[in-house]
């Protein structure tokens, strides 16, 4: 009977997941979630995959559950190349499970609660982007010129809401090589009637005087309040600091990750080729080769960031570490 209840409560979640089978592949489930919904972020997809796993596997004890979760998380982290924000989601869900296990004496009730609340957790995570847009709205004003970098769903959501609320502003979008994701953002914004100018990454210094404020997304928010984001974010933040322009990070709180990098080389995803040198001529001849070897993420330290607009409020970088401490140590 309980199993029936479980199946019911997770039916909606597992609808687009693979058909139930005995050998559950967490990585492919995660990929499917990510592919199925373009608005889905990596941590959310990870949590969603874990919830499905929880409902499908039938752990009989708390320690078995913890073990299953830990294994799945490990599998996910090693199976996916860019695992920073993913690990934020995994860690958060593991934490959530641990806390709830301790609260309930009755194991069956606990399991049921976990699956149900796992769904709730997801719901909240998905909604957070809209909440952020509302919270970030006062930062935008008529006649603003805004600079954004690459493609961030949270930033796009905020700009679209602002446009819907009849705030008139124009946007510089960096092309953001090597992925070229800035072009995606430009397309979406133009479709919604926001005037956009795409600039080369190297042109940020040229336009910075004309810019009023800078909005950037984040792949992960580190414990210091610094952010891990698409390559090029750091140099934009440095230019902004020099020009005294405010830099706002727009990110969901489930992207807060227990990492404390001091430089991009402390990131788990470091690209060892990025700092190796060569005298071979033909390397640079192939333009695409150069781009392939380029690192994808960099780290922007907290002192370059004015504020973080998150679903739990507008925080200073100190606030991030406070929230993380509250989340983790109790």
């Amino acid at each position: 009977m309980i199993m029936a209840g479980l199946a019911q409560s997770t039916a909606a979640l597992s609808a687009d997941a693979t058909a139930a089978d005995s050998s559950f592949d967490i990585v492919s489930t995660y990929r499917q979630f990510l592919k199925g919904d373009p608005a889905m972020t990596m941590p959310v997809a990870a949590i969603e995959a874990l919830v499905v796993l929880l409902s499908k596997s039938g752990p009989s004890t708390a320690s078995e559950l913890i073990d299953i979760l830990a294994k799945a998380v490990q599998e996910l982290k090693s199976g996916i190349k860019n695992s920073i924000s993913l690990s934020a989601g995994c860690d958060m869900f593991q934490r959530f499970v641990l806390r709830n296990i301790q609260e309930y004496g009755d194991w069956e009730a606990c399991k049921q609660h976990l699956v149900k609340n796992g769904g709730l957790f997801l719901q909240r995570a998905k909604e957070s982007r809209f909440k952020i847009a509302e919270l970030g709205l006062p930062f935008l004003r008529d006649d603003d010129t805004i600079l954004i970098h690459s493609h961030s769903r949270a930033v796009t959501e905020l700009l679209l809401l602002a446009a819907r609320r009849h705030i008139r502003f124009s946007v510089f979008v960096t092309e953001s090589r090597p992925t070229g994701e800035g072009l995606v953002t430009a397309k979406i914004l133009r479709q919604n009637g926001i005037p956009v100018r795409v600039i080369a990454d190297g042109a940020v210094g040229y336009v910075i005087q004309k810019v009023d404020k800078i909005f950037i997304g984040a792949e992960g928010v580190a414990e210091s309040g610094g952010i891990i984001n698409r390559i090029g974010t750091y140099q934009i933040a440095v230019l902004a600091k020099d020009a005294n322009k405010p830099v706002y990070v727009v990110a969901e709180s489930h992207k807060f990750v227990r990492l404390f990098p001091l430089s991009p080389f402390d990131l788990p995803d470091e690209n060892p080729d990025a700092t190796s040198f060569s005298t071979e001529q033909d390397q640079d001849d192939e333009y695409d080769e150069v781009l392939l070897n380029s690192p994808l993420l960099d780290f922007t330290s907290d002192n370059l960031i004015t504020a973080l607009i998150t679903d739990i409020g507008v925080l200073t970088s100190n606030g991030v570490s406070e929230e993380l401490i509250k989340m983790w140590y109790d």
Binding site: E223, F260, L262, S263
Partner: protein, 470 residues
Amino acid sequence: MPDAGAPTSASKGSNKPAAPAKEHASESQDAKAARKAEKAARRAQKVTEQGKATAKPSPEAIALARAQKRQQQQQQQQGNGSQIKHVRTGSSSVPSGATTGANASSLSDGNFGISGSGEDLLDKRVSLFKHLDSTKRSGTADASKDIHPAILALTLQIASYTVIGSSARCMATLQAFQAVIRDYRTPAGTTLSRNLTNHLSKQIDFLKTARPLSVTMGNAIRWLKQEISIVSIDVSDQHARDTLIEKIDTFIRDKIEVADRVIVQTAVPQISDGDVALTFARSLVIEQIFLEAHACGIQFSVVVVDSRPFYEGKELVRRLSNAGLKCEYVLISGLSYVMSDATTVFLGAHAVMSNGQLYSRVGTALVAMSAKRKNVPVIVCCESLKFSKEVQLDSVTFNELGSPDDLVNISSGSTPISGPLKDWRTLPNLKLLNILFDLTPPEYIKKIVTEVGSLPASSVPVILREYDRI
């Protein structure tokens, strides 16, 4: 660095409070000698019936001496208008011979430093730091009979810097308290939970005569008193004592020993192949980090920056090079040269203030500032026991003064050699300042590694709030 163990001790054991019996014995011999000298001085003064200023002045004696000095100065100004303010001949009521004699005797037996007469101390204090207690270095002679021998021994060890470093001092204190509690018998008509706290307070007051309590000691004492106060009056004394002793053991293990291990585990990944790690003076936890990183097979080298008068880094560099690490040793005057090569700076702490200021061995701020200037990340490693609830904005308001004679001593060995400043007490217009700590602003600190995780310096109050220890 505050964590540093005994600079002179070769074995790790002597860092620990329960010092080897031999050392203990020699300490108490010294103590006896001191007591004898003091008694002799007192007798001499009784004979002349002028026992107003003793070699080791009590507060009243200092006050008296101050009053006398003021009088004398007025007299001089009225009389011959002498411009020299600090005349060292002593007030007329104290025979100068007796004063210098006492001075000389304490100089010669030199066990816990040299304390001049009250007047000299007053005269020679640097005005900006006058509010700080200069080291009194009391002997065990004036200890009341309530003071436990373990506390007496510890007081001497702390005063002579044999036990040095805030963690080591904290551990030693707690272990001495275990001895106190073991030998404690509740007097009739009171309960343990009420009376033991009083009894401990007396011990603590005596401990304070050696050096001011470290932040770790303060935190531990606050915790212990809390534990005592919640001892039920229904349990037997024996049981209460055993429980308390066991709790102290757990506290030491959790807050210092295990904490250190966790910090080491967290900090080692900060060191990678080819790194040059720079540290200042000596911290036990930093030493463990380097040794562990070396044991993990990471190829890196260490620069130990050191300074007078403790030379704590010498012991660190000896241990590291014995373990097979590539080391470089430099005094703080050569800092700017070695900083160019450094990739990371690791610092220990005496305490971290609520506002993120790092309170540590004097010179630390200089190292951190220099690192910041060269864009070298500064990582502070310390137990959360070292977090202080207090806020400090400068290193003047609260600090500790060492004996000025430590600066005069130009020997780096154990036998003191007085250099050109031998007669500094008689030189007019000369004051010596031996300050022990300084304050490093949070802007210079990239991260603090504690047993509860890595945090920015600004998060200290959050930890204090979330983990309200008391």
